[in-house]
């Protein structure tokens, strides 16, 4: 139990790398698609809806397998520069996680944008603030604050999702845990250590989001 701890801790670094990279790119993708969802053009709107429906309706495992095993099959892709990225399981995992969390994030942000009271935007307009500035300086900050609790859940779900990277040969926390279990046949001990590390991360994320919620709450 003690001897497995350093190995698992080392693997935690990969888990954290995967998590932070996919959250960073996922937030950008999510924001982009949330804005597209609010677009009045029906095609753009439907496209963004289709994206989020597709990625929320299928298991993350399928998405990783399609990107890692499936895309490599296309001959054309192998000849382009994309192949440098797509042959690495690390980048495939990040692409899959990004697209997955992006779909959930876009839904969270969309509902946050929709709950902003129209009066706030009207107040901005009547003060003569240009629409672009209203969007960047008023709507986005409010939407981010509104979506903090839901986004906190999404971060925790994504942290758990990174465990699927172990299915495409990446040695993240779950991958190493599985390796130690299958070589030592001590599932319970390893589960306690690895599960403890995951729980600790959940605890930190949970409290960090709580702190942010308090810091940026409307009523002071």
């Amino acid at each position: 139990m003690v001897s497995s701890f350093p190995k698992l801790l080392g693997a935690t670094v990969i888990t954290l790398k995967l998590l932070s990279a996919s959250l960073f790119f996922g937030l950008i993708v999510g924001l982009l698609f949330a804005i597209l969802r609010l677009n009045k053009n029906i095609f753009i709107n439907k496209f963004a809806y289709g994206y989020s429906y597709l990625f929320r309706g299928t298991p993350l495992l399928v998405q990783i397998f399609i990107i890692y095993f499936g895309l490599g099959q296309i001959e054309y892709l192998r000849s382009t520069f994309l192949w440098v990225i797509l042959k690495e399981p690390y980048w495939c995992a990040i692409i899959a996680f990004t697209l997955n969390t992006g779909a959930y994030t876009s839904e969270i942000l969309r509902s946050a944008f929709q709950t902003i009271k129209p009066g706030i935007i009207e107040a901005g307009q009547s003060l003569g603030i240009p629409n672009k500035i209203i969007f960047y300086k008023i709507q986005i900050p409010i939407a981010i604050r509104q979506s903090l609790p839901a986004y906190g859940n999404e971060i925790i779900l994504m942290m758990k999702g990174t465990s699927l990277a172990s299915t495409v040969t990446l040695m993240d926390l779950t991958g190493v845990a599985k390796y130690i279990i299958s070589t030592t046949f001590k599932p319970i001990e390893v589960f306690i250590v690895a599960g403890g590390i995951y729980l600790f991360m959940t605890f930190i994320i949970h409290n960090f989001i709580k702190y942010l919620e308090k810091k940026y709450s409307f009523s002071q």
């Binding site: 429906y53 597709l54 309706g57 299928t58 298991p59 993350l60 495992l61 399928v62 998405q63 397998f65 399609i66 095993f69 499936g70 895309l71 490599g72 099959q73 296309i74 925790i156 942290m159 758990k160 999702g161 990174t162 465990s163 699927l164 172990s166 299915t167 779950t174 845990a177 599985k178 279990i181 299958s182 046949f185 599932p187 319970i188 589960f191 690895a194 599960g195 995951y198 729980l199 959940t202 605890f203």
Partner: protein, 230 residues
């Protein structure tokens, strides 16, 4: 297209049975989850601190640890634990438990943690006055729960339970690592033997989309049924 034909030449019938297996595992896991929720929801709502602690421990640990890790625990630890129990009764042969049972149990425990939270939330959001009114009218605890609390609770719980169902359905893809032949495992086998992973994993995605779409339709109907009178 002939790869997907039914019969000996194609993978159509295999994928069809795999889909049925996914549905069977999801339903079993959901029911096991309800069973766990039935035990842990009262614990979480109990007046006693130590009961609360047990309930909170269950939901926090399961919801904070990746599903895959829980499945590995069951897959590698399951037969060991059963053999240990059997050895107490004097049985020392190797016991291998069925992948279906291990898988449904692992997913069921995960789904149970989410269901527990849903039921807890639903019961807590029922007005305190309802409990008090029932008490004043001299209705016993059992009738109070089945005739007053449960109908109101279900209406609140169904939208969230539908989320739990979707999570459970998607989580079943993870039991493919234990070798149970459901959609994901079947696609893996088919992709391996035909060298056409893109096709088969895309079909897996379509099958999952169909399942989530159909269950959404059914749940929406249930929702309108139970929200009658409001």
């Amino acid at each position: 297209m002939e790869l997907l034909a039914f019969g000996k030449t194609g993978w159509g019938d295999e994928l069809f049975y795999a889909t049925l297996m996914t549905i069977a595992v999801s339903v079993t896991a959901m029911l096991i989850g309800f069973f766990f929720a039935l035990i842990f929801t009262p614990l979480k709502l109990s007046k006693f601190k130590s009961f609360n602690l047990i309930g909170n421990f269950y939901t926090t640990v399961i919801r904070g640890v990746p599903e895959l890790l829980v499945i590995y625990l069951f897959f590698f630890g399951g037969s060991g634990a059963i053999m240990y129990v059997a050895s107490i009764f004097g049985y020392f042969e190797y016991i291998e438990i069925n992948a279906f049972i291990t898988g449904s149990l692992a997913i069921g425990i995960i789904s149970g943690a989410y269901s527990t939270e849903v039921f807890r939330g639903a019961i807590q959001s029922i007005d305190k006055g309802q409990f008090e009114a029932a008490k004043v009218l001299g209705i016993n605890k059992f009738t109070q729960f089945y005739k007053i609390i449960l109908p109101q609770m279900l209406r609140l719980a169904i939208p969230n339970l539908s989320n739990v169902w979707q999570i459970t359905l998607k989580d079943t893809s993870l039991i493919s690592v234990t070798g149970l032949v459901e959609i994901m495992r079947q696609s893996y086998i088919a992709a391996g033997s035909t060298r056409d992973p893109l096709l088969f994993y895309s079909i897996a995605a379509v099958l999952y989309l169909m399942l989530t779409y159909l269950s959404m339709k059914i749940i929406n109907r249930l929702e309108t049924k139970y929200s009658k009178g409001y």
